[in-house]
Point group: C2
DNA sequence: TTCTGAATTGCAAAACTATTGCATTTGCAA
DNA sequence: TTGCAAATGCAATAGTTTTGCAATTCAGAA
């Protein structure tokens, strides 16, 4: 059984071509992917279905939305224990200004901050923009 | 001379009603403001002019774009030495889930991170979501 | 103060991005 | 194999941002 199929089963979701292709792309690329990029890779699939699948995956805790600086939502596979009830995404994201790819730096936790009195935190988001390892030294 | 007028002069920009009103709102609120919120407050001004003014201000180093947790762009006055050439915005942003307002926590610097080998950072963005001091204890 | 050119604005239209409704198709368990 | 809820495709709608262009406005020079 493929990895994608296993993910769908674990989430209690039906196996459909759209879902399998989207998971395959995410697994293959290992980074956050935008709706428009899915659209390019899944030619036979309707735009709307991709939107709906993204929402379904997010709701089931399979994906988390990544905010990059460009007003574009991207989605990355949750690496560990996310599910319908509890959604944790406490790592740093990196957006490359050269190739525009966004990656989760799963190994880097977000440093805690002491907030001013009166503020209480639920969630934190740490985004770094720069040049990624693939682009460094590769010219522009 | 009003504060807003001084800002425009320093930036070498012409005085126009739209610009003055936008700066006044930013100065008065002391937080990041979205395009749609500007639109509500500046009734006689065209949407497109607001978009263009935001771009102009950003380019001149008067504003920095803040991405809140909903992937909505908001704009906040740069507090110190930003200009056309150098743009620094190295502080934490806080987005209140209750009132939806976004503030710059100017006094809180962004903790530095040691990136994996090969990555180089230009800019960092640290966003905290939670409940702000005004909303805590005020019920929902 | 008046004039003039460049900057700025408003309006219309286009380009994107995202959502909704509904009829049809599909996956899966009984 | 069949039935039905889930998922999809298509059309339409809603929302956001950008672009082109003509008209207006600002600020410095005369």
């Amino acid at each position: 059984m493929t990895r994608a199929l296993q993910i769908l089963k674990d989430a209690g979701l039906r196996k459909t071509p759209c879902r399998l292709q989207m998971l395959d792309l995410l697994l293959q690329e290992g980074r956050a992917i935008s709706h428009s990029e899915f659209e390019l890779h899944l030619e036979a699939i309707d735009r709307v279905t991709i939107y709906r699948t993204l929402h379904t995956f997010e709701r089931k805790g399979l994906l988390h939305k990544v905010i990059d600086g460009q007003n574009q939502s991207k989605f990355a596979l949750c690496s560990h224990s996310c599910d319908e009830k509890e959604h944790r995404d406490e790592h740093i994201h990196f957006h490359c200004e050269n190739c525009d790819k966004t990656r989760c730096l799963d190994e880097l936790g977000i440093p805690e901050i002491v907030l001013p009195v009166g503020y209480s935190a639920h969630r934190a988001n740490y985004m770094i923009e720069g040049i990624c390892a693939e682009c460094v030294g590769a010219g522009t």
